[in-house]
């Protein structure tokens, strides 16, 4: 048995060695920010703790005499069981290298997130799924590595550490990456515990729930019609209560998921302004039915209703009481109206559970979600005033093939760097309203090749984001 245990330790050390070799490889790569290396350091130190403890057990001959073989095996496994988890974490680092991300966008995005979540570390990585996703790490890591052995490891963990993944195939299409606003929204929703406030506000339609319960019991009773009965038997009553309880649990879970998704959308609008709405339509409409809901997500049509509610609302602090809706260019207005109309159309019947949840998310609930999210932004949302002040100047630059990274004050002979959100909003306005003018720059080279012109627009915006970030950082250092 001792021999077997000794071999087990050796094999585990081999796994540690393999992991450390992979860490060394990944350390050599270039990342756009320090965040991936923070996670890499976590994995490295975790691996080191496991390896050194295995060494100790191996060398401690007394242990072999005092512990039973089962106890010894347990002791070894106490450390080894973390190895697969550490290996899984590497997945978050792969795809975050400069070659696999629009590197120039990552640093400004991190800066943007830090504006809302102080001292946060976010890894932005591309992956093979055609989807954007958010994975919070801090709580998860604290839970998994909660024992005394990993105490020192957790001390260095950032307060808010998360991974935002985006589709690799869309890596260079920066306009789409406004979808990241939704993922940041998940972080803010969790950080501000909005679920505790919002979910209790949603009430389930009891009669609809009773109706589904009856149908289920009927089906379970092999087709016996129980709906017409005046009184249910004791067994039937018990069964009915059990079904209702299960249904309520399920519906509450779906409500919880949907409320979080809707709140994340509201955060997306607050952070990125209309650009998030446009990116959502562009990305989601291509791959999803407008009226299809799921256990985790409400249908795109409900989500669009919420976003539209925010965009058409007058902003309180606005002196002229403006809404985004009113200041869009004509073509953009038409685009928005068409989509809002489609989203508000009645669709085919939903799955009964989703139908109940959808009916529970009333316009009042949508208002509550929006107002709580705005409250959570503490006045730092992207404002209509900013949009109105910057967008037409920035659009003019883009139309003329000039990156909108700075605005020139000709009188003062000064330049001011544009912020990433204004750049993206101007980009969307050009995409929706001025693409013909923009494409004219390339009429000799590409001739009506929309894909190439879209690509050029995205490249120009990425350049603007890069240059704006470099100038901002340069001036920050000068002023230190």
């Amino acid at each position: 048995m001792e021999e077997v245990l000794s071999q087990t330790i050796d094999y585990a050390r081999e796994r540690c060695h393999a992991l450390s070799k992979e860490i060394e490889n990944l350390e050599q790569k270039i990342y756009p920010t320090a965040s991936p290396k923070t996670l890499l350091l976590f994995i490295k130190e975790g691996n080191e703790i496991i390896r050194s403890n295995l060494d100790k057990i191996k060398k401690d001959t007394e242990l072999y005499e005092t512990l039973t073989s089962e106890e010894l095996e347990q002791k070894v496994k106490r450390f080894c069981k973390f190895l697969p988890y550490l290996c899984n974490l590497l997945e978050y680092i792969e795809g975050s290298e400069v070659q696999n991300t629009p590197a120039a966008l990552i640093r400004p995005l991190k800066r943007l997130v830090r504006h809302y979540l102080l001292n946060s570390e976010i890894i932005f990585r591309s992956y093979s799924q055609l989807n954007y996703s958010f994975a919070p790490l801090t709580e998860r890591l604290r839970k998994v590595f909660s024992g005394e052995i990993f105490k020192s490891l957790l001390e260095g963990l950032p307060e808010f550490f998360a991974v935002v993944s985006f589709p690799k195939v869309e890596s260079n299409y920066v306009l789409l990456h406004c979808m990241v606003g939704h993922e940041i929204g998940h972080g803010l929703y969790q950080e501000k515990n909005l679920g505790e406030v919002l979910i209790p506000l949603v009430t389930i339609d009891k009669s609809a729930l009773d109706q589904i319960a009856k149908v289920i019991i009927e089906t379970e009773s092999q087709g016996q019609d129980v709906s017409g009965k005046q009184q249910l038997s004791e067994t039937e009553l018990g069964e009915s209560l059990r079904v209702k309880e299960l249904l309520t649990k399920l519906i509450n879970k779906v409500i919880g998921n949907w409320v979080e998704e809707l709140a994340a959308d509201a955060f997306g609008i607050c952070i990125f302004g209309p650009a998030y709405f446009f990116a959502f339509i562009n990305f989601v409409s291509a791959i999803q039915l407008l009226r299809s809901s799921s256990y985790t997500h409400p249908s795109p049509s409900i989500r669009m209703k919420l976003m539209w509610h925010l965009l058409k609302s007058d902003q309180k602090d606005s002196a002229d009481s403006l809404s985004f809706e009113r200041i869009f260019e004509d073509k953009t207005k038409d685009f928005v109206q068409q989509w809002v109309k489609v989203a508000s159309k009645e669709g085919p019947p939903l799955h009964p559970i989703y139908d109940i949840v959808e009916k529970s998310i009333t316009p009042i609930i949508i208002c509550h979600i929006c107002s709580k999210v705005i409250e959570g932004m503490n006045g730092s949302e992207y404002t209509i005033q900013k949009y109105q002040k910057n967008i037409s100047t920035l659009c003019d630059l883009i139309k003329n093939l000039i990156p909108p990274n700075e605005m020139v004050d000709f009188k003062q002979k000064k330049t001011t760097s544009s912020d990433v959100v204004s750049i993206l909003n101007a980009g969307w306005e050009v995409y929706l309203s001025f693409m013909d003018e923009f494409s004219k720059n390339f009429e000799v080279v590409y001739k009506d090749n929309k894909i190439e012109c879209d690509k050029k627009l995205n490249e120009l915006l990425l350049k603007a984001i890069e240059l704006s970030e470099i100038k901002t950082r340069w001036d920050e250092i000068k002023n230190d």
């Binding site: 270039i30 756009p32 400069v98 070659q99 590197a103 120039a104 640093r107 003019d396 630059l397 139309k399 003329n400 093939l401 000039i402 990156p403 990274n405 700075e406 020139v408 000709f410 002979k413 330049t415 760097s417 720059n441 390339f442 009429e443 000799v444 080279v445 050029k456 490249e459 120009l460 990425l462 350049k463 890069e466 240059l467 704006s468 470099i470 100038k471 950082r473 340069w474």
Partner: protein
């Protein structure tokens, strides 16, 4: 006629009705350092994007090859090196880089980009195709080669080249640059011969009379 530095500042900050007729060099991180008083050029910085040729099984690089455009992208690695980091350029190594600044020339201005002599003395050749046409918009691609004997660390953000701006005597209004490189945001490899020339060169011997 070369525009002196004082005049350059004036050109950049005098608002034109039509944005296309505006001289734009963006961003200029350090005005005093890059547009020196009494000089006749703007110093340009090294940008963050590079194209590095890689070893391949391709036996030659033939511009008359029908598959030229398809083969070309696979022959270079694209690399982004942020400011603060560096690229090592080894002796005899060739890479494409670009200026950090994005340039737009109105229809009455043209420019020449040349290396800074202090880098030239270290063996670094910066640009060989140096003319920038009126109406051009984009970053300028730099052909970087280390002709020296020791590796050079190239930090994006360092001043590496200088741009001399010339006035064009009879500007072509409404025209301007329509080249393949228009709107470049990173180093670009181009097609060295036009399709028309390729056709004629291929047929040259066939049509001998």
């Amino acid at each position: 006629m070369i525009e002196p530095s004082d005049r350059l500042e004036e050109l950049i900050f005098s608002k034109q009705e039509n944005t296309r007729e505006q001289l734009i060099i963006t961003p200029i991180l350090n005005w005093k350092g890059q547009v020196k008083k009494g000089s006749a050029s703007v110093d340009l910085r090294l940008g963050c994007s590079f194209r590095i040729p890689k070893k391949s099984r391709l036996t030659d690089f033939n511009p008359l090859d029908a598959d030229y455009d398809r083969k070309r992208p696979g022959l270079q690695d694209e690399l982004y090196i942020g400011i603060g980091d560096y690229l090592v350029l080894h002796p005899r190594q060739f890479v494409l880089g670009n200026t950090l600044e994005y340039i737009h020339l109105p229809s009455d201005l043209a420019a020449y980009v040349i290396g800074r002599s202090s880098w030239g003395r270290e063996g670094l050749v910066i640009a060989t195709a140096t003319g920038v046409h009126p109406g051009y918009s984009g970053v300028l691609t730099l052909e970087l080669t280390n002709l020296g004997e020791i590796p050079l660390k190239l930090y994006p953000g360092i001043t590496i080249a200088q741009l001399f701006i010339h006035r064009v005597n009879a500007p072509h209004k409404g025209g301007g640059d329509h080249s393949f490189f228009l709107g470049s945001t990173r180093p670009e490899s181009g097609k060295p011969i036009s399709d028309e020339d390729i056709f004629k060169i291929r047929k040259f011997n066939e049509s001998e009379t």
